[in-house]
Amino acid sequence: MTFLRAVVTGASAGIGREFARQLAQRGTDLVLVARSRDKLEELADELEVAHGVTSEVSVADLTMPGDVARIADRIADDERPVDLVVNNAGFGTRGRFDQLAVDRELQEVDLNVRAVVRLSHAAAATMVRRGEGGILNVSSMAAYQPIPYFATYAATKAFVTSFTQALHEELKRTGVHVTVLGPGFTKTDFAEAAGATGEASRLPDPLWMEPGPVVAAGLKGIEKNQATVIPGWANQLTATVADFTPSTITRRIAGFSRRFTSP
């Protein structure tokens, strides 16, 4: 399946920008969504020069319902059809839950959960009608076990993985592909934004991946309509172990890992 036009949220940096680049390389036109107009316009220019694709720049803050509705309308627009939606925008907060600012926790749920559900709904309804398309939701290895001091983040990712896997089953035989991508530690600004750079730098090197192979695995997965894609052997091993381990034990491992995640 080759995609003609993809919406990528959180396209200004990290995994989202890499999605835009690799899709452009395959000749897919883009709708680039993020808060920063400058970064999106720069990326749009780069992709046009390098790959000759057209990019729409759509400045939006997906923690805001009005902005989410605007992107949902764009996804449902039959005049300029979108056949792939990459729900990538998201962030994490680190710290003792009761000491974190609750407004920021709620924005995290708004962006990581609510926007994903709204945009997936616009995509699913439109694409099922057309009998083709793809929905690729970027979750995280954090979906596979509770994470103390990342409690809300891990919960939002548990949501995205469960939701997307269920949607994959529901949309079988509709022609619409649905994939959840569960990256582990990826070399992006994520850790910095979450205030966890010190801990991140202590992690062993094999756990780290560049955005390139993470995104390549995601795109391969959505083309083949794989329900779940875990990029990298170290992450696959972790996910398999977590899947086959009773939750009482994964929770305690998570508890043990407090020494790495505690502020």
Binding site: V109, V117, H121, A125, A155, F163, A166, L167, T240, S247
Partner: protein, 249 residues
């Protein structure tokens, strides 16, 4: 630890009401939260303890703020928060009303996060308290036809367990209740009677687990088997089975 005063959301019916009655039977005073005041009044008349009736719609900003305020202050501190109110909507996600999907996120996740955040500082300061989350065995695998509901419960199970670890040695605990299909209005006639569990034993197990400060409690033998299967089978495998069972996927 037995509790002095518990705030229970969704206390007007189903598991929430049963938990309120169970707590009252153990001498715990109540703050009963739900939308319908008359049902809360009925509960208050029925139980032998002091009950504050606090009608509130937890999907509204106004309702949530009022309950947050009660958790933060008041002369009688809350030492047990039961995050039980929830909603579900069954059907193919693509065809469901997206506002109903969002309501599930509001009630099942956002309200629980906000109320817990309001309750914890006081509990930690007093070094005494507990939070109980009504999650579901739906959190153990993706659920086609209940895609958003299952995901909200996966959220709660992850969140409640992470908090359990964060709260170690603070005097405060977090417990996740994972009932399977329970005989309440919530499931309606959708589920065959044979696999439904009565609500009273679910409530008893929930309060026992909260008193002991356990991380998670799964009620019913069938559900324990389910939890064990979920623990040793890849998530996708159970999701496929669930889809087949529900005739979707």
């Amino acid at each position: 630890m037995s509790f002095e005063r518990a705030l229970v959301t969704g206390a007007s019916a189903g598991i929430g009401r049963a938990i309120a009655v169970e707590l009252a039977g153990r001498g715990t005073d109540l703050v009963a939260v739900a939308r319908r005041q008359e049902l809360l009044e009925e509960l208050a008349d029925e139980v032998p303890v002091d009950v504050e009736v606090l009608p509130a719609d937890l999907a509204s900003e106004e309702g949530l703020s009022r309950v947050e305020e009660r958790l933060r202050g008041g002369d009688a501190p809350i030492d047990l928060l039961v995050n039980n109110a929830g909603a579900s909507d069954m059907g193919r996600f693509a065809k469901l009303d997206v506002d109903r999907a969002e309501l599930q996120i509001e009630l099942n996740c956002v309200a629980a996060v906000r109320l817990t955040h309001a309750a914890l500082p006081g509990m930690r300061a007093r070094r005494r308290g507990a939070v109980l989350f009504t999650s579901s065995t739906a959190s153990f695998q993706p659920l086609p036809a209940l895609a958003v509901y299952g995901a909200t419960k996966a959220f709660l199970t992850s969140f409640g367990q992470a908090l359990h670890e964060e709260l170690k040695s603070t005097g405060v605990t977090s417990t996740v209740l994972c009932p399977g299909f329970t005989d309440t209005d919530f499931v309606g006639d959708a589920i065959p009677e044979q696999i439904l569990m009565d609500v009273e034993p679910v409530a008893r197990a929930a309060v026992d687990a909260a008193e002991k400060g356990r991380a998670q409690v799964t009620t019913g033998i069938g559900n324990k088997v389910h939890a064990a299967a979920a623990a040793v089978l890849p998530g996708g495998a159970l999701g496929k089975l669930a889809g087949k069972a529900l005739g979707i996927g």
